[in-house]
Amino acid sequence: MKKIIISVLFSLLPGLVYAEDISVEPASIEPVSTEQISTTEISAEQQGFEIMQEMDARDMGWGDMNTDMQMILKNKNGDEHIRSLRLKTLEMQGDGDKSLSIFDTPRDVKGTAFLSFTHALEADEQWLYLPALKRVKRISSSNKSGPFLGSQFAFEDLTSFELKKYKYNYLRDEVVDGVDSFVVELFPQYEHSGYTRNVVWVDKERYIPLKVDYYDRKNALLKTQKFIDYKQYLEQYWRADKSEMQNHLTGKSTILLWQGYVFRTGLTERNFDKNTLKRSR
């Protein structure tokens, strides 16, 4: 019986590379391999894990990506401030993505660039380039919960999704905005998170997040994020054109608009080193 379940599990995995992720997730595998659980009923933890694993698996292999991002910061009075940046991302096999963000506006920080090597559980590596001083500064990546550019997005909301970052719990099925979805709880396992848990609505058909509720350290609902206008690229990968983050505590919100997604442009790790960071403008 054990063997069957494990072989079924492995047949779900898209590639060998992925086996590395699974091997360090003993907590999620153990419940399945114990004798008490039958093939028909799996624990909510396992079910949640499998949903997110499928989501992660379907979004693998895009290689590298360029996009322009605009942030619209809104306060309660409706005042708006716009930030624009360019984003380059390199998918890393068996590790978190590498990304380079270059700020275009506000003009006083034009040319400031942010280089980040994300990791699942170890601390991310981050460097900031300050164009006025021509200085590259290695910065602490402990700032997970702080606001990114004064927006309602925390640093941790914008880093790449890695399976190992969370423990999971499947809650229920639910229809959200007319789309049949799984509802899964995510419990951050990395240090310095500002959340006790995130609740994610995952589209059952496309396996993409539609909505996320973020619960603060006191387990009170803090923010809700919605992903809007998904488009498919390279006949596989779904990317939203728009995302909205509403803070329920302050009434402030931030809209992210992505434009001009280009995939597989031939970026290499060399495009994500300190030399490139210094050249970026």
Binding site: L73, N75, H81, I82, T105, P106, R107, D108, V109, K110, G111, A123, E125, L133, K134, R135, V136, K137, R138, I139, S140, S141, S142, N143, K144, S145, G146, P147, G150, E191, H192, G194, D216, R217, T268, R270, D273, K274, N275, T276, R279, R281
Partner: protein, 409 residues
Amino acid sequence: MVIKAAYNRRQTIRYRVVSAVVLCLLLARPLYAWELTGYVGIEDLAFIERPLDSRQHMNYVSGVIEAELYHEWDNGSQVFAFVPYFRGAQYDSNRTHFDIRELTWVKAAESWELRLGIREVFWGVTEAVHLVNIINQRDMVENIDGEDKLGQPMINFAFIQDWGTVDLFILPGFREMPFTGVDGRPRPRPPIDGNDAVYDKNGFARQVAYAIRWSHSIGDWDIGLSNFYGTSRDPVILVETDSTGQMLRLIPYYQNINQTGLDLQATIDSWLLKLEAIVRVNETSTDFATVAGVEYTFFNIADTGLDIGLLAEYLYDSRGVFAPTSFQNDFFTGIRFALNDVQDTQLLAGVIVDSESYAQFYNIEASRRFFDNFRLEVEARFFNGAQPNEPAYAFRNDSHFRFELSYHF
């Protein structure tokens, strides 16, 4: 009639030329994007105490403009940048100055980069002083913090490998440090006479300098090891006296040096551990200087977005009072506030205390954005408790505020 026909024809030709140019620009634009950015600003320097010299003033106004023309092509692997800079200052003609901060072409390949032209290079990790940073001359008329640099002509070849980056520099053209003029502040009394600089090699500057640097990131560690050979950017200040011992004037003295530098930072959790050290050999002596310190940041305090960073650094220089900086055996402590708000409000307050004389130098820098395109910077610099035998004594009456409002385009 004849005249009119000719006129019409010229109109037609002009129209054709214009439309051809417009068409070219339209076609060329996505491939060859030229970008013009920069800022214009107005600055006020307000001094608290009366000047030591009657030729100096209590308040100085100036205007500044810096533009950047930037062009990137070949899929981002070739870059051209031109950054002219101008400050027009009241009273002090030395401070009214033009400089080309950058005029450069860069070609990047997978395992190397070639950077040619006038550029600025920063090396180092610490906050109170930048010992290792030696490529560019400091623009001391711009701001006494020395963070502003004069553009340096260079040929820089970077060799990029898995084991780090090796940068080779040939630096033709030595640039002297600019000094505040007789009417300007802050300055020592008598003022430093930059026009009569002296050199240790045959009485003139060695024009070409050479440098090499290896830098790498290994896990939590960022490391740089460098060597510089050429005319020192920091002059020693010589005092010229008459037969009665009365100070006549101060003149800068540039030595030929070989400087080896190390900069190291460990980034562990919310801690930054920093070290810079140099060994400098000139004709007459071998000197050692170091700065070592820590920075700890409390991030997102009480979920308000506020970060508070605490900084502490120890500064040592074997050159004592002859050191080009006034920090020989001193402690720096500072606190940094970042509100991480929409206006990007920041404040850094620090004090350097001499461990022997307890002379203090206070420095407060704050900045905030307004209306998306404006930025206001406020700096406060206070000198206190310096003894007559210390270099900082020269600035005892020069505590001041600096305000700069800039518009960014």
